[in-house]
């Protein structure tokens, strides 16, 4: 099957300038990255601040162009100017700050902005906006001013705008970073449902380890390179490497490691508190009544 994202030897460099505008140094923000994403996958990208995650993400809908290498989105090269609209339609992006992404005075108009620009006829447009707002559970809010929405609702409105363009792929660039726990949960739930039910590819860029434990695949970036990839269990078994990358383990695994270091024989590759509890109950039983 055709990959939704295909990145070959991607390098991105930019010039850092001093206060007089002279080039002070060339920064290699993305360094020789190769990766492929299957349609319908839920993929996470982890990495410290400045590791190149966002720069990588901005190549996925042609906001940035490669210095070297190629990026294919659903088979289309992002450097092909004629495919630009098509690529932006295929891969929609949700950014970190909920307040910077709103263009209209009414929620449903904001959601309609993308597809309207793509030339979707009015009668189809209404249905798309309606369905998209339902999908992110914002239908009741459709007549409100976006200013009246919470941060989590604003991000879901941005997601609805992408859905209304019938995008195959949603990229969340730390889209939950500025939200409170409830808002974060709502946004994650909305994209996970879209992933499971509509088979929309989700690329989640985040600092929250707990958000990625259900991902099909995780890519870990450090200084512009992908230094680790695999399933959550594979990735979170590399404690030392993750710590070198400025990351950490999910809390359940951290507690398991703490117990192991005290001499208990517990599995340390647990991803959730539920798994850790089952593991602990197992220990209790096998030694119980001695």
């Amino acid at each position: 099957m055709k990959k939704i994202v295909e990145i070959k030897n991607l390098v991105h460099e930019y010039a850092r300038r001093d206060s007089e505008g002279n080039v002070a140094e060339i920064v290699r923000a993305v360094d020789s990255v190769n990766l492929e994403i299957e349609p319908g996958a839920f993929v996470a990208v982890l990495g410290a601040n400045g590791s190149g995650k966002s720069t990588l993400a901005k190549h996925l809908n042609a906001l940035l162009m490669p210095t070297e290498g190629t990026v294919l989105i659903d088979g289309k090269n992002t450097e092909d100017r004629e495919k630009l609209l098509d690529i932006r339609k295929t891969a929609g992006m949700v950014f970190q700050n909920p307040d910077n992404q709103i263009v209209a005075n009414v929620v449903e108009e904001d959601v309609a902005f993308g597809p309207e620009n793509l030339g979707v006829p009015t009668e189809k447009l209404e249905k798309r906006v309606h369905d998209s707002l339902k999908a992110v559970d914002l239908f009741e809010e459709r007549k409100k001013s976006p200013n009246r929405l919470s941060g989590g609702q604003k991000q879901r409105a941005a997601i609805a705008g992408i859905l209304a363009m019938r995008s195959k792929c949603i990229i969340l660039d730390e889209a939950t970073a500025m939200l409170d726990p409830v808002g974060r949960k709502q946004v994650l739930q909305a994209v996970l449902e879209l992933n499971r039910e509509e088979h929309i590819t989700v690329i989640l860029i985040t600092h929250f380890m707990e958000e990625v434990i259900e991902a099909d695949q995780i890519f870990v970036m450090k200084q512009g390179e992908v230094v680790l990839s695999g399933t959550p269990r594979q990735v979170f078994s590399r404690k030392e490497l993750l710590e070198e990358c400025g990351l950490t383990l999910p809390d359940a695994a951290r507690i398991a490691w703490g117990l192991k270091l005290k001499g208990l024989s517990v599995r340390t590759d647990v991803l959730s508190m539920q798994e850790l509890e089952e593991e602990l109950n197992g220990i209790g039983v096998s030694h119980g009544g001695v």
């Binding site: 601040n49 409170d180 409830v182 400025g246 950490t248 951290r254 208990l264 509890e277």
Partner: protein
């Protein structure tokens, strides 16, 4: 030494269709040498609350006292108050504007009207406290990493020699390593420099790990105020207002419910590991 809020109400857009009461009858005292977390979901009144603490906003009714003096009295110096109660906003790195790190940090104490020698001394000290080395003094703030920028922004407030340091989500948007760095910095400022710290946080894990006292806000009111261990025993109530408890506390509560003999109420990482370890040992009769 304290900041005292006495029956404070705050109403936005009074007598307009958008009128909204952001704070409702808030009475609370923040004392010397405390380490407090302020939690509550978006729109619960946290930001309004912190802006009242250093006089950026004035209450619609009720009184704010600093060291026993009503800060709304005309003779009270607001400028001095803003030095004594340092406020670090969310994403403070966006507010760095000078050409060099050291000049950015000097801006605050200069504004306070300190003597030149003091300005220099306080600025160097503040940068040292936050772990920014001499080699970065003349660097452009824009060339620093996200975590470094945030520490410079905090140094700018510390250089005004505050007795209270109020931070609105100091760790938001940072990676786990940067987050730990900032939280450890606050801990050391509290423990070594005896500065009273109040930080706003959405991470119950950080609150459990670093705060001694927790204020919980909901719909404009302070609904819970107590020691961290006490606050996190209200799991159901916290979940009802969209907050919850640290994951490790959920684990311990669930283990207890299923018959595990776990002593006390561990809320920090180290305490949790220790308590579970002891419970496992007891359960297996010490035969591991």
């Amino acid at each position: 030494m304290s900041i005292l809020l006495d029956h404070v109400n705050y109403i936005y857009g009074e007598n307009t269709p958008d009128e909204k009461q952001a704070l409702i009858d808030v009475s609370v005292e923040i004392k010397e040498n405390e380490m407090i977390a302020l939690v509550g979901h978006t729109g619960s009144g946290k930001s309004t609350f912190v802006q009242l603490l250093n006089g950026l906003e004035a209450p619609s009714s009720g009184t704010v006292y600093y060291q026993g003096t009503d800060i709304s009295e005309p003779s009270f110096s607001k400028r001095e108050l803003r030095g004594k109660v340092g406020l670090v906003f969310q994403y403070p790195e966006y507010q760095l504007f000078e050409e060099t790190v050291i000049r950015d940090v000097q801006f605050g104490p200069k504004n306070m009207g300190f003597r030149d020698l003091d300005i220099e001394l306080y600025s160097f000290e503040a940068l040292k406290k936050v772990g920014i080395g001499d080699e970065l003094l003349d660097a452009s703030p824009l060339s620093l990493s996200g975590g470094q920028k945030r520490r410079v922004a905090i140094a700018g407030v510390l250089a005004m020699q505050p007795e209270f340091l109020i931070l609105d989500e100091p760790a938001a948007g940072l990676d786990p390593a940067g987050k730990r760095e900032i939280m450890e910095l606050l801990k050391s400022l509290h423990e070594e420099k005896k500065i009273t710290i109040l930080f706003v946080s959405h991470s119950m894990e950080d609150v459990a790990e670093y705060a001694k006292r927790v204020l919980v806000m909901n719909e404009g009111r302070i609904v819970l105020d107590g020691r961290s261990e006490q606050i996190f025993s209200y799991q159901k109530e916290l979940e009802q207002i969209g907050l919850g408890v640290p994951q490790s506390v959920s684990l311990v509560n669930s283990l207890k419910k299923h018959g595990w003999d776990i002593k006390g109420m561990p809320i920090k990482y180290g305490e949790t590991v220790e308590a579970i370890y002891e419970a496992v040992t007891r359960r297996s009769g010490g035969s591991i």
